[in-house]
């Protein structure tokens, strides 16, 4: 499913709305999530999942082919962790993985 197919689905469910408003809704949602992550904030959507940003410190890496050392800059990367509800639904309603709760307790994000 692409963004335009998502918009189409929402349009079918909401015939009273203009298509351009639905486009704006979808864009607003993902822009909000994006700008939160840019600020370093977390986004927790219970039953769906959580987005977070993790920081990686600068380190000295090595080119495995040449053995040459290279400096790797510090960086910030986006992460997503699936929520319990969705994980269960993906697996036919039950979740026998060992992680419990709705995931959001491991605040290992930076």
């Amino acid at each position: 499913m692409t963004k335009s197919e998502l918009i189409q689905k929402l349009a079918e469910r909401n015939p009273h709305l203009f298509l351009r408003d639905i486009e704006k809704i979808v864009d607003t949602i993902f822009e909000e999530i994006t700008s939160a992550l840019v600020k370093g904030d977390r986004v927790e959507l219970r039953g769906f999942g959580a987005f977070s940003v993790k920081s990686r410190d600068a380190r000295t890496g090595r080119n495995p082919r040449t053995g040459e050392t290279v400096k790797v800059d510090a960086k910030r990367l986006p992460f997503f962790k699936t929520g319990k509800g969705l994980r269960e639904r993906l697996n036919g309603g039950h979740d026998d993985s060992q992680s419990d709760e709705d995931d959001f307790y491991d605040k290992d994000s930076a």
């Binding site: 499913m1 692409t2 963004k3 998502l6 689905k9 929402l10 469910r13 909401n14 709305l17 408003d21 639905i22 704006k24 809704i25 979808v26 607003t28 949602i29 993902f30 822009e31 909000e32 999530i33 994006t34 939160a36 992550l37 840019v38 600020k39 370093g40 904030d41 977390r42 986004v43 927790e44 959507l45 219970r46 039953g47 769906f48 999942g49 987005f51 940003v53 960086k75 910030r76 990367l77 986006p78 992460f79 997503f80 699936t82 969705l86 994980r87 639904r89 993906l90 697996n91 026998d96 993985s97 994000s109």
Partner: protein, 98 residues
Amino acid sequence: MTERTLTRADLAEAVYEQVGLSRNESSDLVEQTLDEIMNALISGDHVKLSSFGSFAIREKGERIGRNPKTGVEVPISPRKVLVFRASHVLKDRIAKGK
């Protein structure tokens, strides 16, 4: 900088401000959007949201795990896991960040 956590309520508020629907309907539309994404994933489809990222299902086969506390080996049943790949646009914006 203090870290905040954004929730559905914040997304609904943004939709309310940007689109001008009622608060109720804004929050309903946020829910519907997540719902449609989840339905697509549950039906085995992947979801690609340009300039944001894509969600795909990965099927994991059975493997033997071990209870780290007791050391007892247990089979881990086959399962589906969801993986998110951030788009380059998203990665770049986060990398540039502050």
